[in-house]
């Protein structure tokens, strides 16, 4: 059995350190001072909106572009002077970049042959990789004769065949339709677990990041906004950007009254006071702030204390039901509740009261500039 184990269980991946990396294209800043550490075998997602610098960071790690400042370390060793073919970093491009003139098997063998692995071993490894991605029956097809999901699995097998210490995935699921995407996400997670390869996944899909990652690095305009576990990022976002980009949030302006024992009190501009989690940024009482309330932390009641408003619209979304409520002050709030069987949306115009279920789930931030 030890033989068997060694053929599928690949040594745990290498750790990666990004040290104060900055990058400029000409005079345009694409990344500023990014620092992060990824442990061996970890799956880290780079999450951020289009143009925030995700691909740039990935290409710097792979050695395809040289950073303007900072260092990249693999297992504690600086690799900045090494070209891509000397770094043991595998990459799967967004468009897969399979070699169109080679069969699936030859694509997978390419890296092994480049490393002068003996022929018999190449054959064995190709077969092993094909089994891993469940494509053994398609070994002799060319990439053109494969579906999108199959192509992606070949790209994955090709990158994993050379046993990279770090695997980089640039939006690998973006081109797939919803069902196939879910299958492939599970597949990638399974393969990553099995191979123990340190993996960096670039994505702008927050659900993908939340479901697959050990930790998420949220990027915005070339800056690292937050680096934490998926639940931490969702439950305790450290910036207004993260709070609104990951998951949905109702953003209401107000003024900070006081912070006591980890709880903040904010007077909303539209009237009423609200309890919230103490802000991470240092904000003095009396300063203007915004509060972020996730739709699922609000409940609709017909009376009692709380914000009052009128129903503008109700959307039954299967398992949840979302209401859009306009408050007396004119701001509009989304409220998401679990939907019981037979529950219909409330008719527009109904006067309702909103209750906050969890004060610690409300974030307080400085207003965006």
């Amino acid at each position: 059995m030890p033989n068997d184990a060694s053929s599928t269980q690949i040594a745990t991946g290498a750790s990666l350190t990004v040290e104060r990396v900055a990058h400029r294209y000409g005079s345009a800043v694409a990344l500023e001072q990014i620092s992060l550490h990824v442990a061996g075998g970890e799956l880290l997602s780079l999450l951020g909106p289009s143009g925030c610098g995700k691909t740039t960071l990935l290409r710097i790690i792979g050695g395809f572009i040289e950073q303007s400042a900072g260092r990249i370390l693999i297992e504690g060793q600086a690799v900045d002077h090494q070209p891509p073919n000397k770094r043991t970093v595998g990459i799967v491009f967004q468009n897969y970049a399979l070699f169109p003139h080679m069969t699936v098997a030859r694509n997978i063998a390419y890296g092994l042959e480049a490393r002068r692995v003996p022929g018999a071993e190449v054959k064995a490894r190709v077969a092993e990789m094909l089994a891993l991605v469940r494509l053994s029956h398609l070994a002799d097809r060319t990439p053109r004769e494969l579906s999108g999901g199959q192509q992606q699995r070949v790209a994955l097998a090709r990158a994993l065949a050379v046993r990279p210490s770090i695997l980089l995935l640039d939006e690998p699921f973006a081109a797939l339709d919803k069902n196939l995407r879910l299958d492939m996400q599970i597949e990638v997670k399974r393969i990553q677990r099995l191979s123990g390869t340190t993996t960096i996944l670039v994505t702008h899909d927050q659900e993908e990041a939340l479901s697959l990652s050990d930790r998420i690095a949220v990027l915005n305009q070339g800056r690292l906004e937050q680096l934490a576990s998926p639940t931490e990022v969702y439950d305790r976002p450290t910036s207004l950007f993260v709070n609104t980009f990951v998951g949905a949030a109702n953003v209401l302006p107000g003024v900070l009254d006081a912070v006591t024992d980890g709880t903040a009190r904010v007077t909303l501009d539209g009237g009423g006071q609200i309890a919230a989690r103490a802000p991470i940024q240092t904000i003095a009482p009396g300063e203007p702030v915004v509060v972020c309330i996730r739709p699922e932390h609000l409940r609709i009641a017909t009376d009692g204390p709380g914000l009052t408003g009128t129903v503008e619209m109700g959307l039954p979304l299967g398992a949840t039901i979302v209401h859009e409520i306009r408050t007396a002050a004119g701001s509009s709030l989304k409220v998401a509740e679990p939907r019981a069987t037979g529950m219909e949306p409330r008719p527009p115009g109904t006067i309702v009261t909103l209750h906050l279920t969890q004060p610690e789930a409300v974030g307080v931030f400085r207003p965006a500039a």
Binding site: F64, N85, F93, P100, Y110, G111, A114
Partner: protein, 278 residues
């Protein structure tokens, strides 16, 4: 009904071109063939037999075909880096290179060939530079040599090689290089295993055009080659005008035409094969 009348209409529109082809291409070809069948003893294949049994004529044909190979190889060797620099080089380089590549097309062949003569002559730029640098004592014989003809032809036919290469190279996904490097392959392995196979359709198209143009380039061949070297186009011209041997000239022409067509169809077959997977 409507579609049929449109189809009829379109055929009518093509008629002038078809007429042009029949009048100026098919008819002369048939006449050429008819003339080539004439001999002292009436209609026969005697002219063809004479050509195919004559070592001198076969030598001219062989030398011409070989000249094409040499010119094509030189064009490919120089044209590939040029096309590569155009596709992968910095943005500012592109207009410069396209001008360099296209300029020959915008000038008359005669002008370009005389320029070659000026450059390669005994008192030409190359020789005077070499002499003044002290590298040689007496001027080299560059003109009226096979080497001179090859270089001049390569310069003249270069756009025919570079343009298809540029098209083929720019169709290759730039991520291919990165993917190859990320898998641990060095630049040379990536070049031979990825870039060359993927640009094969362009290489074949470029070679075909250059080859066909080089072996039929009457003006450059005869001006730079002088009287010393005889290639097929000049051979045909001599037989027809100087010796007034029209039947033999026609027969050589047909043989030459058939040879060129054979070469072109080999290239075409290769091209189809390479496009099947590239």
């Amino acid at each position: 009904m409507a579609t049929r009348s449109i189809a009829a209409y379109e055929l009518k529109l093509a008629a002038p071109l078809a007429g042009f082809f029949v009048l100026f291409f098919i008819a002369p070809l048939l006449i050429l063939f008819y003339v080539s069948m004439q001999s002292d003893t009436g209609t026969s294949l005697a002219q063809y037999a004479r050509f195919l049994l004559d070592p001198f004529s076969l030598g001219v044909l062989g030398r011409t075909l070989w000249l094409g190979v040499e010119v094509t190889m030189l064009c490919l060797l120089l044209g590939f880096p040029l096309a590569w620099a155009y596709v992968r080089g910095p943005r500012w380089l592109q207009p410069v290179l396209i001008l360099v590549v296209l300029l020959p097309l915008l000038t008359s062949v005669v002008v370009r060939t005389f320029a070659c003569i000026v450059i390669l002559g005994r008192q030409g730029i190359v020789n005077s530079a070499l002499v003044s640098l002290g590298l040689i004592d007496t001027p080299l014989r560059l003109l009226y040599t096979e080497g001179g003809v090859i270089v001049a032809l390569a310069q003249v036919q270069m756009p025919l090689m570079v343009l298809p290469l540029i098209t083929a190279l720019s169709r290759i996904d730039p991520n291919m290089d990165d993917a190859s490097a990320a898998l641990g392959a060095g630049a040379w392995r990536g070049f031979w295993r990825i870039t060359v196979p993927l640009s094969l359709p362009g290489i074949i198209a470029g070679c075909m055009l250059t080859y066909a143009a080089a072996i039929t380039a009457f003006i450059t061949q005869s001006l730079v080659g002088g009287g010393q070297m005889l290639f097929m186009p000049m051979y045909i011209y001599q037989q027809a005008t100087a010796l007034q041997n029209w039947p033999f000239a026609a027969a050589i022409s047909i043989v030459f035409l058939a040879t060129v067509l054979a070469v072109v169809s080999v290239f075409n077959a290769l091209g189809r094969l390479s496009r099947a997977h590239a």
